[in-house]
């Protein structure tokens, strides 16, 4: 939460994961909703943790075009835990087959917004879960 009470959202994608139409849309909608948005690319999942600390964010939105989350998500969640950042809400988007949702949620992903999801659902989730 920023000093002016706005939720702070970090949106990330691996730099070679170039299909970013969805994540750019989320950035735009977050801005419209009055959130503070940091949009960044990463090379290694540890960098997301660093950015989350540096930017003091409430939410991390991470997007994947392929199943690279199998490798990247455990590293991100471990990094957040080690830095006592479990309170940060992690949400995912991208091309994510339905059968993977349960496995991802077990790892701590709060919600998954794949192709054709309701963007406003994400905005409402942030508004309701990031308490002032």
């Amino acid at each position: 939460m920023s000093s002016n009470g706005k939720p702070r959202v970090l949106l990330v994608k691996h730099w070679i994961d170039i299909h970013d139409r969805g994540l750019r849309l989320i950035a735009s909608r977050c801005k419209d909703a009055g959130f503070e948005v940091v949009y960044a690319s990463y090379s290694q999942p540890d960098e997301i943790v660093k950015m989350a600390i540096q930017e003091d964010v409430d939410v991390i939105g991470i997007s994947f075009f392929t199943s690279a989350y199998e490798q990247h998500l455990p590293r991100l969640m471990k990094g957040l835990k080690e830095n006592k950042l479990d309170n940060i809400m992690v949400v995912m988007g991208g091309v994510i087959p339905d059968e993977d949702h349960e496995m991802l949620k077990k790892q701590g992903v709060r919600a998954i917004y794949g192709a054709g999801s309701d963007v406003n659902g994400f905005i409402e989730l942030v508004k309701s879960e990031v308490k002032k």
């Binding site: 070679i16 801005k31 948005v37 940091v38 960044a40 690319s41 339905d98």
Partner: protein, 565 residues
């Protein structure tokens, strides 16, 4: 186009029509997806200023609006060019064989293998690099050495089949392919296929790629090499499809592509290359999307504008240098996850539009791509879509069959005007390179994306099965997954490859690439591609050659760029 008598009669009929619809007391005009206002009906009055011989003309004659060729599908159907590639090279070979067995055809008995690389390969990252973790072989093939090419292409006649390398930073993978081919006894003049040369079109997608001016130098170097060494190679693919996928409507797809083509041609001309030679290797990858007639008219206008640019700006004299080479990649962003089988129908309409536009090659995305990469079944189905269109509908009997339609000719003319307008706007903004660097183009695309989704969310734009006729229980589609062992095997192979080589020889050849790049920086062409091929022959991997390029050529923006809103 019409005599006085016909126009007088048309005026009277129009007045009667106006009276007939007045009783509805509503405006029935609408807008195309690009925002061009359209009336409910068109008549000779709308195209009276269009001159048949000069503005429309005959297929196969300048300005080639109707077709590049006097005879088209009657003589030679479009090339089936389905994109394929996943896992290890041998997995991709299986898909190549499945498509071949399913009847994939190219020109004159050959086939076009439209091979797509995985993300690491796209960016010149070897599978043993930590940067590649999670992405190896997942959305394309992991193929990084001449040995990988052998695993994928062994047994294929490279002089008869087109090998298409869908790969971002282009030169290193192309060099690796040439090394493989030459090691197997082919001469350069026998090779045929395409490189993307997307070192510059990656500007559109907010990718991380070569910095603008260096990108253009690398693209020009590839062209310099091709026209001097591999005459049959299509060196450049101006990627309209990506521009469309990142937010462009039909007119911006065409306008931005034409401006890209001009930037490349200007660079080639400045490098002293002959337009009649370099223009023949530039192709356009064109998205055919939902607004059926608008995309057809865009396509017709695009052929004409490119021919005019080739002749008027570059003084081309050979017809082949004025032809718009087209590879249709039907729309992907308009395919949705909800009720995914509907995507088969959407793509069939897109493909019909492309065929009516007179495209010369076609790729149709599979219906399951919003869920993952295609299964063999869904990939073959995209080929069947093309085959049904070709053999069962009768649309191939007549070239440019929609010509002469009042609406189609009027809208084609409007698309021409819009195309010229965008080219001029970009020139007024300081030219394409500056417009790109200033973010002018990307801003248009971002706005296009947001607008599209706003229209879907508000219901202004109907997407069947998503914002209308939605159902709770979509038939689930099983996602295709490449073999989970791919990453481990690919990394082991490349380590083994490096261990078996003469390291001193490899290092010297890689240094040769660096030296050649320093020359390229100063505007000296003709050194980098030969040096890359030498490096590949000295067993440098594609990733290592990319890294050598990056020692001199600027890579940008930095991957850890952070934007704050």
């Amino acid at each position: 186009m019409f005599d006085e008598k016909t126009l007088d009669a048309a005026k009277k009929l129009q007045e009667q029509w106006d009276q007939a619809v007045a009783k509805y007391e509503r405006d029935f005009s609408s807008k195309t997806n690009s925002g061009i206002p359209v009336k409910p009906v068109y008549t000779p009055l709308d195209i009276q200023d269009i001159d048949f011989p000069t503005d429309i003309g005959q297929p196969g004659f300048y300005p080639y609006m109707r077709s590049n060729y006097p005879l088209h599908y009657q003589f030679q159907p479009w090339i089936n060019q389905p994109v394929h590639g996943y896992g290890l090279p041998e997995h991709t070979k299986e898909r190549m064989e499945a498509l071949t067995k399913a009847g994939m055809e190219g020109y004159f008995g050959g086939r076009a293998y439209n091979l797509v690389w995985d993300y690491p390969g796209y960016f010149g990252i070897d599978p043993d690099d930590p940067e590649a973790e999670g992405y190896i072989g997942k959305d394309g093939v992991s193929c990084n050495t001449d040995e990988d090419f052998a695993r994928m292409l062994e047994g294929l006649d490279l002089s008869k089949n087109n090998i298409i390398l869908i790969n971002g930073d282009t030169l290193p993978m192309f060099a690796t392919y040439i090394a493989y081919a030459e090691n197997n006894g082919y001469t350069r003049d026998q090779l045929r296929g395409n490189t993307m040369n997307w070192v510059f079109t990656a500007w559109y997608a907010p990718n991380f790629m070569w910095e603008t001016e260096d990108a253009l130098k690398l693209a020009t170097e590839n062209i310099h090499f091709c026209i001097n060494s591999i005459p049959r190679w299509n060196h450049t693919n101006v990627q309209g499809h990506a521009i469309s996928e990142t937010g462009a409507d039909a007119i911006h797809q065409m306008g931005f592509c034409l401006a890209t083509g001009i930037a490349v041609a200007d660079s080639c001309k400045a490098a002293g290359l002959d337009p009649d030679k370099f223009m023949t290797g530039i192709g356009f990858q064109i998205a055919q999307g939902n607004d059926f007639f608008e995309y057809i008219c865009m396509f017709r206008a695009w052929r004409k504008l490119w021919a005019q640019i080739a002749q008027e700006r570059y003084g081309c004299t050979k017809p082949a240098a004025m032809h718009l080479r087209t590879h249709t990649n039907t729309s992907c962003f308009e395919l949705v996850k909800q009720q995914p089988l509907n995507n088969i129908i959407r793509s069939a309409y897109h493909a019909l539009g492309a065929a009516l536009s007179g495209t010369t090659a076609m790729q149709i995305p599979a219906y399951d791509e919003p869920i993952g990469i295609p299964t063999e079944e869904s990939a073959v189905l995209t080929l069947r879509t093309q085959q049904i269109l070709l053999h069962e509908t009768g649309i191939t009997r007549v070239s440019d069959p929609l010509a002469g339609s009042y609406y189609v000719e009027w809208l084609t003319h409007r698309m021409e005007e819009e195309g010229r307008k965008i080219i001029k706007e970009i020139e007024d903004a300081g030219g394409f390179v500056k417009a790109h660097k200033d973010g002018v183009l990307v801003r248009v695309l971002r706005k296009g994306c947001d607008q599209w989704r706003d229209d879907v969310d508000s219901g202004k734009r109907i997407v069947v099965g998503w914002n209308k006729y939605a159902t709770e229980d979509d038939r689930p589609v099983q996602a295709f997954r490449p073999d989970p062992e791919v990453a481990r095997i690919a990394a082991e192979r490349i380590k083994d490859y490096k261990a078996r080589r003469d390291q001193a020889k490899t290092d010297a050849a890689l240094n040769g690439v660096v030296v050649a790049c320093e020359k390229l920086k100063k505007g000296e062409y003709g050194h980098v591609m030969p040096a890359c091929i030498e490096a590949a022959k000295a067993k440098a991997t594609a990733g290592e050659i990319s890294k050598a390029l990056r020692k001199v050529m600027r890579w940008g923006p930095e991957y850890n760029v952070m934007l704050k809103y």
